[in-house]
């Protein structure tokens, strides 16, 4: 297709403008986080150390890592197993159960969080890792079963049949053949579930009111409440909380983009 030079030049200009719009606020935070105190000069890397200790971010990041790991292990396992059944086996009731799972992808957190808090409080389970992790596992399982089913449906039948003829059990077919072949689908699900869990706010806020199990986003919100005027420290804290997902995104961006566009979840 022929396009004039002027048009091509304009396109590059547009690329730059849109990128600037997307990056502008991020640059503002980065610059702010390195600003020295009044009267000081140069680049204040010390802000990060100060935010780190004053905001107890080491503790919050550890909590976030723990919650994310717990949710990931359970949700991934349950989703692979459920996706295998939905995608490769025909059985009575599969359509009904699968529709119920699809419903879960659309349900907003607000619709479950109120009774979850009061019921788990009755059981004495609020302020535990489980209260924060289980609801997020359920949400991720809804998406994960849907996502893994889609993969298992397209998995090569010939491979499965050949393995079965060789005497491999159903379980062996799953773990030694289908899971290794389905790595891209599993990686996509892993990065999405990690990102959702790491960034989750409402569940972590409601289910652990005592503050002992504060995840990183909550820690940041709390930090902001206490140090409203310390803009530089706050910005440094924001960078610390954002870094894990951003780094993961930069390395596995194709998985993020594919998952979020095709998954049409959340």
């Amino acid at each position: 297709m022929t396009t004039s030079r002027a048009e091509t030049a304009m396109n590059y200009l547009l690329l730059v403008v849109v990128c600037a719009f997307a990056l502008g606020p991020i640059v503002v935070v980065l610059v702010t986080s390195l600003q020295p105190d009044l009267g000081g000069g140069g680049i204040a890397w010390g802000n990060y150390a100060e935010a780190w200790s004053q905001g107890s971010f080491a503790r919050y990041l550890r909590t976030s890592a723990l919650v994310s790991a717990t949710v990931l292990v359970v949700a991934l396992t349950a989703s692979v197993l459920a996706g295998y059944a939905f995608g490769t086996m025909t059985f009575r009731g599969s359509t009904v159960v699968f529709s119920l799972v699809l419903v879960g992808i659309m349900v907003p957190t607000e619709a479950i969080v109120v009774p979850l808090f009061y019921d788990l409080r009755t059981l004495g389970l609020t302020n535990t890792l489980w209260a924060v992790a289980f609801p997020q596992m359920a949400q991720s399982i809804a998406f994960g079963s849907y996502w893994m089913r889609a993969y298992f449906r397209t998995a090569p039948r010939s491979l499965m049949e050949a393995a079965r003829l060789d005497g491999a059990s159903e379980r062996r077919v799953l773990w030694s053949i289908l899971v290794p072949v389905g790595r891209p689908a599993i990686v996509t699900m892993t990065v999405l579930v990690f990102m959702w869990t790491w960034n989750e706010f409402l569940i972590a806020l409601v289910m652990a009111p005592s503050g002992r199990l504060r995840t990183a986003p909550l820690g940041l919100a709390n930090f902001q409440g206490q140090y409203t005027s310390e803009t530089a420290l706050l910005a440094a804290g924001a960078v610390i909380v954002a870094l894990p997902t951003v780094i993961l995104f930069l390395f596995l961006q194709r998985h993020f983009i594919r998952g979020m566009l095709e998954g049409v979840a959340k």
Binding site: M1, I26, V101, F117, P217, Q224
Partner: protein
Amino acid sequence: MTPRWRPWLYLVPAIVVYGAFLLYPIGRSVQFSLYEWDGLGASEFVGLANYLGVLTDAGLRAAFGHALVLIAFFALLPLAFGLAVAAVLNRARVRGLGLFRTVVFVPQVLAMVVVAVAWRAIYAPDGPLNIALTAVGLDSLTRAWLGDYTWTLPAVGIVGTWVQTGLVTVLMLAGMARVPREQYEAARLDGAGPVREFVALTLPSVRGEIAVALTLTIVAALKTFDLVYVMTAGGPGNSTTVPAYEVFQRAFRTGQVGSAAAVAITLTVLIFGLNLVINRLVEPREDR
């Protein structure tokens, strides 16, 4: 032949966790919504009174109204920008589209709290926005962006525009890339200008992507919580309350648990209805 119960064995972990922590709580929410309860004492069955409250309570009506305004900022503006940018970029081959996709997608992976902290800094009375306005001689426009009854809601909305525009643009680019180049050449030979080309060729080809984009962004607007909680706490006054924020306040701060559940269920029904309507609108496409 595999026995009948085999598939269920694989489904057990998923069904147990999903049933106990998602399906069951939805049912409980519906039940809660029919009672008046302060979270501690005895509860009283009130029928649909809490739902009536969603329609009549001034605070709740305001919250849903604010959500409508947010939809314009989270969904319509990004769609307009995304379509325009993608259509222009699609006309000429440019290098660096891969990098572009990465950069504009970044806001999507940030925790909303991080986004809120960033934009609070931008909107601060002595922050970059007011400094920039002063620098170009528009002092009269400077204000306390998050302390103003008129401007705070749009200010929060713009943050949504910032978060969603990249996602929508990437979606539109993907859809437009599927249109065969020859069709554009043919349209140009027929003398179609850029506008004709966009309306007759580009727009119909991304119908599915528009539906996906609208679903994702409108749902995001309706579910807004973190952003409001951290940026404005619903204020000033109650000028930026949203349904999700009302759910939280009523359930855990002001002892109106039943009303909170009714708002949550209403929100859920709205989201489901929206999904249904948008999918219906693009269905003809699936038949082809």
